[in-house]
């Protein structure tokens, strides 16, 4: 079975444990994917256009941006490798949602493991809008089954409505 875990920089542990669930299905091949989001760079360019300036890639700061982005992707992968030893690592650049589904098709993934949304220290949330736009797009467009991973939030239950 070929399992592809999608990292967002905050969910190494979650994805790592989820991938481990598949260990019974031998032979198991795991890939960890980190996507460098080109969104912020596009936003910077649009901002520059508003101020009548050429795109940012002509400026020296562009190099710093690239270095910081790839270092962050490397680190994200390294953190997840601690939970999924021997996994292949994939780095792509573009729009995360598109890169994930395209990478899954290219790599011939049998299942995509993805977090519901990035968590930056807030308590886990359940309910509407708890699946971010990247995960939602992947659920809609994946070429294979998708395992949606979320942190345990049993204390928020039962839901009374």
């Amino acid at each position: 079975m070929r399992v592809m875990g999608c990292l967002d920089g905050t969910n190494a542990e979650l994805i790592g444990y989820a991938v481990q669930m598949f260990t019974t299905s031998a032979p198991l091949t795991v890939a960890l994917l980190a996507v460098i989001d080109e969104g912020p760079r596009k936003d910077l360019d649009r901002m520059r256009e508003r101020f009548w300036r050429p795109p940012i890639h002509r400026k020296p700061v562009s190099k710093e941006i690239e270095t910081a982005e790839s270092a962050s992707a490397e680190e994200t992968l390294k953190a997840a490798l601690a939970y999924a030893k021997g996994a292949e690592t994939l780095v792509r650049q573009g729009r995360p949602e598109l890169e994930i589904v395209n990478a899954a098709a290219e790599w011939k993934a049998d299942v995509i493991v993805i977090g519901a949304h990035a968590e930056y220290g807030e308590p886990p949330r359940v309910g509407p809008h708890s699946v971010g736009h990247v995960a939602r797009f992947v659920l809609d467009h994946a070429p294979c089954p998708v395992l949606l991973v979320r942190p345990l939030a049993r204390e928020q239950f039962p839901i009374n409505r």
Partner: protein, 435 residues
């Protein structure tokens, strides 16, 4: 050509406004990969060739606005030199250090830093130089990128009317309708502080969940590492410490602000040359020369439209809409300018408004000042509605989105559409109360 033929008044007006509208539409849509400078200059060129504006009138228009051109030049020069000295990285690293590992505190510090940079370097400095620096910073710290990017891009506009130099548009409007420094501070600085507080408050509420975490300061290089040349860096700091108060003193005495900006830029370039941090060619590259073509073209096109009496009519319409009350003046001025900047972009709108306010000149002082302050306020803050790009870009993004693709630029619009009308209304209210 038509200069040598007699052309009826109607056709003159029709042709001039047709070329004017064509120029504005061109600037918004940029056909054939033309730059905005090409389009504005073509519009001006067409008017000159067709004789719809006299060459002497065009030249006089440009000469009258020398302050604006020189200010743009000086402002871009100062920003470029300060950027090359590593000042912005140094400031951002200190903002991170002072945040004591709290994502929340860093968010506040980015807001404050953006405000300070906009105040001295004008909104270009924050939007174009600080934003990428902050993006690199939060990427290294592995914090959520979006809130910090939003903070930078929005604060660039929100704090751009703190001082007359915080936005070149203020200079364009005030070259035609000067406000004394105390009046300026009362009618614009105070509302600006209120609006900044609202901006921060709403953003903090919106992103509080994402800002709960902490960060490891060790991920960042030391602030001193960002200083590329110590002596030049110290010199830059000293020069800026001189330039900032000079701006305020110059505003107080109605002394041309462009002179301060040009002298400041020249001193910084001289220092950079002395320490061999730059060459003249490299310094010239830091300046976007096409902006001058763009503004010059816009000034000429709007002047031609002004000669047909259309902008006066527009000014009278604004005056009528305000019902002759100061409250009406502030509200009509604010929302008129804000809507206009989103339709035709802020520089053209500031030029159009400067030309239209002629009819307000002889109104009661409260109404005149109300209109002038509201114009600056609306033109400066209005772009926050569609922070990244113009309304045309946003519409394009909305069309893209219908094809089931999530578009990042839209996030800015979603926030802007909530925050901006509120800030415009409260700010206008404060201006009116202080009139």
């Amino acid at each position: 050509m038509f200069l040598f033929f007699s052309l009826s008044e109607f056709w003159r007006t029709f042709l001039t406004s047709f070329i004017g509208v064509l120029t504005l539409v061109g600037i918004m849509t940029r056909p054939f990969r033309w730059t905005e400078a090409h389009i504005a200059m073509s519009g001006a060129g067409a008017l000159l060739v067709l004789g719809l504006i006299r060459p002497t009138d065009a030249a006089l228009t440009l000469l009258r606005d020398w302050n604006t051109f020189l200010f743009f030049l000086g402002m871009m020069g100062i920003s470029a030199m300060a950027e090359s000295s590593g000042l912005f990285d140094w400031l951002a690293l200190h903002a991170a250090r002072l945040a004591h590992r709290s994502a929340k505190r860093l968010f506040l510090n980015v807001f404050l830093l953006g405000t300070a940079i906009t105040m001295i370097f004008s909104n270009d400095g924050t939007a174009l130089i600080l934003t990428p620096v902050v993006y690199v910073l939060v990427t290294k710290l592995r914090l959520p990128v979006l809130p910090y990017m939003f903070a930078c891009t929005f604060i660039a506009d929100t704090s751009s009317f703190l001082l007359p130099i915080s936005n070149p548009l203020n200079i364009i409007v005030m070259s035609h309708y000067p406000l004394s420094l105390p009046t300026y501070l009362r009618l614009l600085f105070v509302p600006c502080v209120v609006v900044i507080a609202i901006n921060y408050g709403i953003f903090f509420l919106l992103y509080r969940a994402q800002l709960k975490g902490t960060f490891q300061l060790e991920r960042l290089p030391s602030a001193d590492a960002s200083v590329k040349h110590r002596a030049y860096f110290r010199y830059t700091l000293w020069m800026l410490a001189l330039v900032a108060p000079s701006y305020v003193i110059a505003s107080a005495f109605q002394f041309p602000l462009s002179a301060v900006a040009i002298v400041g830029a020249a001193l910084l370039v001289a220092g950079a040359l002395y320490w061999k941090r730059t060459t003249l060619q490299e310094a010239a590259k830091g300046i976007s020369w096409s902006i001058f073509g763009f503004i010059a073209g816009m000034f000429i096109v709007v002047r031609a439209i002004e000669d047909t009496g259309l902008t006066v009519k527009f000014g009278n319409l604004l005056l009528r809409l305000s019902h002759g009350t100061s409250f009406g003046a502030v509200m009509v001025g604010t929302f008129g300018s804000a809507i206009g900047t989103n339709l035709i972009n802020n520089v053209p709108m500031a030029v159009v408004m400067s030309s239209s306010l002629g009819s307000v000149q002889h109104a009661a002082p409260a109404i005149r000042n109300g209109f002038v302050a509201a114009t600056i306020f609306g033109c400066d803050l209005g772009p926050n509605l569609t922070t990244v790009g113009s309304l045309a870009t946003i519409l394009w993004l909305l069309i893209l989105r219908q094809r089931d693709v999530e578009v990042s630029g839209l996030d800015y619009f979603k926030v802007g559409v909530v925050v901006t009308p509120l800030m415009l209304f409260v700010g206008a209210l404060v201006i009116w109360l202080l009139l």
